[in-house]
Symmetry: C2
């Protein structure tokens, strides 16, 4: 094994455990919200490991922790590796973390080998990927591509502390976030290693996957209006029951998203409410959410339009009225084909048998994708569970993922 994977698995595992002690919860989870005291402590610890790896460390005005090692070419763009170290409340210890600590391992390897590289290396822990404190995730990565507004800095947490104040308390100057923006051409390639947060790799029994793109989410809420009535007195043929209509629509959503087993469309109804909600009252209104994602923009939009047509048809047939409100529509973000192909090649040489796959969840790479070529590596996680103390990934799988990351970095950094 040593020959294939040049990774210090023991150190990596020990660091994952050590970092997880900061913000540890009674349920053995981790609560480390962005820009809190725990986050600061975690940054200090990670900064020390960055320094050990020969990196020069700073925190930009967005709260991103950045360790950098210059290359031989002082004008060359950087190879950036990383993810985030903040967590959701009572989250897991692998989400984000393995991307940052794995990145440090790569830098450490280069340092230990005394390698001279053409391009600078940057290992980054983005600030507030999760967005649970100030309601707005991917903060550091969006900020780095100039997508954070001043208004967003004024958002307050549950204790009335604004993000502006929180950044100040970290010794940063939020009035200068524009100085932390990177332009196209400054980053040659951004590589992120992350747990899958889904069950796909486990289902096909593979430790590592190579991401071809991050699905674009489309979020809607749907209201179906019918006619309320007494559950006992309105005959079936005189009903205009919105819940029966909603049931048909939800059935169609599942069907249309499942139809092509090769497609990566997913459709989810996560929330549903019937109003007034009495057990012996036919509802007058049923409201539900709809989350549609796909890596193929055209196919996603076709799926949405099929669903909209079916909602119209079902409501017409049943004399129901409907409203569809669009909350968010984002295009998919594609990983750079040259990165994907390089990773496939390396994956083969490392005997990882790593499949191409898509990411259904958003990651910092999605934001950085606006200014740089990106590549994302997924590591299998137990039962697809994440954002939960039960989140788990085997150190062997993480090692394989970091090896793939390392060899990819070594390819680009030379």
């Amino acid at each position: 094994m040593k020959q294939l994977y040049k990774i210090n698995s023991e150190r990596l595992l020990q660091r994952v455990e050590e970092l997880s002690k900061i913000g540890k919860t009674p349920e053995n989870g981790v609560t480390r919200k962005a820009l809190t005291k725990d986050d600061y402590e975690a940054q200090q610890l990670v900064a020390n490991w960055m320094r050990e790896a020969g990196l020069e460390v700073r925190v930009d005005n967005l709260g991103n922790l950045i360790g950098r090692k210059e290359g031989n070419d002082s004008n060359a763009p950087s190879i950036m590796i990383g993810s985030h170290i903040d967590t959701v409340p009572n989250g897991g210890k692998y989400d984000g973390t393995i991307g940052v600590l794995g990145g440090i391992e790569v830098a450490q390897f280069i340092h230990d080998e005394g390698m001279q590289t053409k391009y600078p290396i940057e290992v980054i822990a983005f600030c507030d990927e999760e967005g649970t404190r100030f309601q707005g995730g991917l903060f550091g990565s969006r900020g780095m591509v100039g997508k954070v507004t001043e208004l967003e800095l004024l958002k307050k947490d549950d204790n009335g502390i604004s993000r502006y104040e929180a950044l100040k308390s970290f010794g940063l100057n939020p009035d200068l976030i524009h100085e932390s923006v990177r332009c196209k051409g400054e980053i040659k390639v951004f590589l992120e290693l992350h747990i899958e947060q889904g069950p796909y790799l486990q289902s096909i029994d593979k430790p590592v996957g190579i991401v071809t793109g991050i699905a674009g989410p489309a979020w809607f809420s749907v209201k179906i209006f019918g006619e309320s009535g007494h559950a006992g007195t309105v005959p079936m043929n005189l009903r205009r029951d919105p819940i029966a209509g909603a049931a048909k629509i939800i059935g169609f959503i599942e069907e249309v998203c499942s139809k092509d087993s090769n497609s990566q469309t997913v459709g989810t109804v996560g929330k549903i409410t019937a109003i007034p909600g009495g057990s012996n009252v036919i509802p007058e209104l049923v409201e539900f959410t709809l989350d549609i994602r796909d890596i193929d923009l055209e196919r996603r939009n076709q799926t949405i339009s099929k669903i909209k047509n079916e909602i119209a048809r079902i409501c017409k047939d049943r004399e129901l009225r409907y409203e569809i409100v669009e909350h968010l529509i984002k295009d998919p973000t594609m990983c750079a084909p040259h990165v994907v192909e390089k990773m496939m090649e390396i994956g083969k040489s490392l005997e990882l048998d790593a499949p191409k796959m898509i990411s259904g969840a958003g990651h910092d790479a999605m934001a950085i994708g606006e200014i740089a070529d990106i590549g994302v590596i997924f590591v299998r996680c137990l039962n697809g569970i994440s954002h939960n103390p039960k989140e788990s990934a085997a150190i062997m799988d993480i090692t394989k993922g970091v090896s793939l990351l390392q060899e990819t970095v070594l390819n680009y950094v030379k």
Copy 2:
């Protein structure tokens, strides 16, 4: 018209309006909860009208207001007519009321005509049909057939006043409710006139319907357990989504209840919740209520068993787990065929073209059905709306219903 319907419509309408002033709400509805000051005032007013109609008035220890006129045969069972005068919060002015005031019109007619009857007549306003104050409806009618327990008297309203105390405040002795119980044989027939509270009569353009029976409700809650997951990361074919399963089940409930357009089965899902209920989370649990009613006990039970089988089948196919909890199962209550046939005959002679129909909602007659032959007459109400300030019934339709009631009483009372 005068010849066909021997009813003083003007007086009846005026009394409906006058009674509706007690407990009137800003929305033009009526809030007259049982055993309140408003209920007392309403009983006093109705008692006066009963006395005008030649009835001797008393309130039994259950709070039932009873006006009685003896017949020639002192041992004969009584012909009882009535309904209730309490309301739900912000309810309508016809629900219950027209059965009591209509009954008084019948007694008034007999009084005015100076008719001597063989059987005694009783006009009754049952106490607390709605059950909104102490959580337990049909109180007076259930009490009259011995189905009220002492425990029930201890139930408190939102202000901490028990039903026991409320009955006392009416000058009654709740320790003696057993003295208000009637036995089989004491009531020859009980007749109730009520607004339909559903849209059927309006849909077939008939003013009055003759009820053949009151459907037996069966109430369940159903839980479907699946596997939670991220809406973006779990491919469709790896999902165990309880909301997709619930949608199929709800579709089947509608289908199985609608299949035979001649059957009077109704099935309603009034409440549904997905847990945890995040818009980007596949739910782990979906819970919904199920209300199944039918006048045909065997058919209702077959429907329930078909639904249970389908839940089992769907959950097995989709690797979901389920729980079905039974909250209430009541047998249907049939109206006495001789009453129904007599009403059909009278309906014809009154040119009402009154159809036979079932009652999907419960009424006081359902309770009294345990000790006496019953008959129920429905009056068309606007758009089927009830328990709402918009509840409305045309005086012409009420007049026709009271005429049918009157002729039926005259048939049995001789």
